[in-house]
């Protein structure tokens, strides 16, 4: 079992390098989320987006990204809210081990 990773006051990883799938599971549990294949699909997409663009997408960008990469059925705010409650952009970035997205109002 991995030691619990250091988090900031809002629950984001302090050291982004510490992320692995086990850490993601721990972070998800804190949000009362059991990670399913549908969650992992979004998490992996977010991580590869961050690797390329060094940016955690805000809500609208996340929806457009999912729409472009995974199709219009999933690129919808209802679909993402069902998976990642609260603000999907914030919750998903947190579990994916990315910084808090800017411009989330």
């Amino acid at each position: 079992m991995t030691n619990a990773p250091a988090l900031d006051k809002e629950g984001y990883l302090q050291e982004l390098d510490e992320w692995d799938e086990e850490v993601a599971t721990i972070l998800a549990q804190k949000e009362n989320i059991d990670l399913s294949a549908a969650h992992w699909e979004i998490i992996k997409l977010l991580r590869s987006f961050y690797r390329r663009h060094q940016l955690s997408p805000a809500t609208r960008a996340l929806i457009n990204l999912v729409k472009r990469e995974l199709g219009p059925d999933k690129g919808k705010s209802v679909y993402l809210m069902k998976l990642f409650r609260g603000s999907p952009a914030k919750t998903a970035s947190k579990i994916a081990g990315l910084p808090k997205p800017d411009n989330c109002i």
């Binding site: 997408p57 805000a58 809500t59 609208r60 960008a61 411009n103």
Partner: protein, 121 residues
């Protein structure tokens, strides 16, 4: 609140030498969250922000070109590049990370006249 407000952002500085390109981008992304019309215009040295093969890890910065590729995901769809700026710098569309409409100064003027608020960085 006026829902059809149009913002124009003119970005005319090269990346990394100052924070001006980032100020401009951050403000435009904030405007896009409000679902307003956002025009983004690369002018003068601003076109250097779009050059391919940037890797700013070497100076401990984020690579601006990679970030700018995401503008359309944020709903910033009206992206323009000053044709004069490209010509003066011997650049062609192939040198850039995104494809955007090249505009003449007259087209530029029309966009400005039609905008409600202009940020010029």
């Amino acid at each position: 609140m006026n829902k059809s407000h149009s913002f124009t952002f003119i970005t005319r500085s090269a990346p990394y030498g100052s924070n001006r390109p980032n100020l401009c981008l951050d403000t435009a992304l904030a405007a896009s969250v409000f679902e307003q019309q956002v025009n983004y215009i690369f002018m003068e040295d601003g076109v250097y922000q779009l050059l391919k093969n940037q890797d700013a890890g070497s100076i401990n910065s984020k690579t601006l070109g990679n970030i700018l590729e995401t503008l359309n995901l944020y709903g910033v769809e009206n992206i323009y590049i000053c044709a004069d700026a490209m010509e003066e710098r011997n650049l062609s569309a192939d040198d850039l990370v995104i494809s955007a409409k090249l505009i003449s100064n007259d087209e530029f003027k029309t966009i400005l006249l039609d905008s409600n608020t202009v940020f010029n960085l």
